[in-house]
Symmetry: C2
Subunit: 116 residues, 2 copies
């Protein structure tokens, strides 16, 4: 239901740090582990590990340049992830609405039989 095979993608973007990293890469363009760590509350190593995770699920892609490693967001994968989030959100929203309708129907029924 909802998320099945793409669970890796979900758990990858589940981490707040990783979401922030993606935000930074999207707004500031490609960056290295060091440059990202300067804007995050964690060390370079931690950032590097997160980048490895994101790379493994294909959300970012590394471009070695001399002694540096420039990471960039994979737009297609991120679009998929964004779509998934929206989908889950929409699913829950729809179910909530359905439940609400049912609850209202029951309430109406009870009101009808109240006098008996």
């Amino acid at each position: 239901m909802s998320t099945a095979v793409d669970d890796d993608l979900w758990s990858a973007i589940g981490d707040p740090i990783r979401r922030t990293m993606i935000d930074l890469l999207l707004t500031g363009g490609p960056g290295t582990a060091t440059s990202l760590s300067e804007r995050l509350p964690v060390t370079r190593q931690a950032v590097s590990k997160h980048l490895a995770v994101l790379d493994r699920v294909g959300l970012v892609h590394a471009a070695p340049a001399g002694r540096e490693r420039h990471y960039q967001v994979d737009e297609a994968q991120l679009a998929r992830a964004a779509a998934q989030m929206s989908a889950v959100g929409a699913t829950w929203d729809a179910r909530l609405r359905r439940i609400k309708r049912i609850a209202e129907a029951i309430d109406r029924n009870r009101t009808d039989n109240k006098g008996e």
Copy 2:
């Protein structure tokens, strides 16, 4: 950016098991830790811990009934969570679109100066 104070809410629904639990509670109505564990690949204790987490952030709410504890989804909180997910998804989507436009503009420029 994007998610700040409501980070607890995010991380609460970040866990796949917890999302599934919410799905089960939404589709099957209120349930206990035991009833949920029967439909999940984890033990009752694990489910109980997850329910505690969800309860702490207000996504579910417990109703003691004799020796049982019925858990139910808090619709308002879940709606907030769903909205947040949609928001992040939309934000990323917008940024991707913007980047794409810029990239296309640059590409157009390069094509213009190709002959020089």
